[in-house]
Symmetry: C2
Subunit: 145 residues, 2 copies
DNA sequence: CAAGTCACTATCAAAATGATATGAACATGA
DNA sequence: TCATGTTCATATCATTTTGATAGTGACTTG
């Protein structure tokens, strides 16, 4: 889709989608959040064509969600590490996963557990102000003047 | 991307992306969550080509996020209303919006406010079990046997 | 020095997108 | 009656993106 007009939109959701609005990018961020860093790790994990992976990694790097880090001078090799923006995208993915579990959870499914307690995570989005679960109260959009 | 293999994957995030893994679908769900229901409302709001809109609405309906409802017999006219699955997708969008605000929030931006209190919403994802903000504790994947 | 690893790039067919025009089934107003 | 408007699309088609496969360059390892 044409992202040019979207990125200037007032809507923060549209803004977000401008840089991470496709499935591959989100899956790369998922894998990066789980510790993958290298081209071939991503390629094998996702079964993605190398052309696409190259492009996606470049975009995510340009957009400031990933950062290239040289881990070998000879031969020159880079790995991709999450920036703060990239790390902060994880909650979106986790919530998407919770939705997927609830509505597309047939058959066997991976679980996300707290690495320390081992207990399964039950992600919910809440309004930090009221503490209310998002979706339980009607939302209105306030457009800027 | 080829969604066929993804949908069978163990990963709930990949499962979620199978049905809502593109920007248009998410923006349609955003608009639907804000009350839009009709073809032309979506078309005008999004500036989307009618071919694409038709296809996306059909997919979202097949996937069970939207439901067609006849609102006029003559001429036959349908509108698209959110199902429970569609409504439950809102938190994902709101969180994506919060990310967009934080990292792509230059210039004027719409705000999401509680329709009753008028107060701005500050969405966060937390683990309902521990109450901890998602991302503050390391996550591990438990693959099914 | 042959084979392997890693991070790509080249090529190209197939699929998706998006702009524009058109259609079908009516309602409305002159 | 008849032109015009509304609404939800479909048809056509050029452009763009995709994805599969093969290849490359700079090494390392046995």
């Amino acid at each position: 889709m044409n992202m040019k007009n979207l990125s200037n939109a007032f809507c923060p959701i549209a803004r977000g989608l401008t840089c991470v609005g496709d499935a591959w990018s989100m899956l790369i961020l998922r894998d990066a959040s789980l510790g993958l860093m290298r081209f071939d790790e991503f390629r094998k994990s996702l079964g993605i064509a190398p052309t696409i992976l190259t492009r996606r990694l470049a975009t995510l790097t340009e957009e400031g969600l990933l950062e290239k880090r040289r881990y070998s001078e000879r031969p020159p090799r880079d790995e991709y590490v999450l920036t703060a923006a990239g790390r902060d995208f994880l909650p979106v993915l986790v919530l998407l996963g919770a939705w997927g579990r609830q509505y597309r959870g047939e058959g066997r499914l991976a679980r996300y557990v707290d690495a320390e307690t081992g207990e399964e995570i039950e992600p919910v989005a809440v309004d930090a102000v009221t503490g209310a679960k998002i979706g339980t109260r009607p939302i209105r959009v306030a457009t800027p003047e």
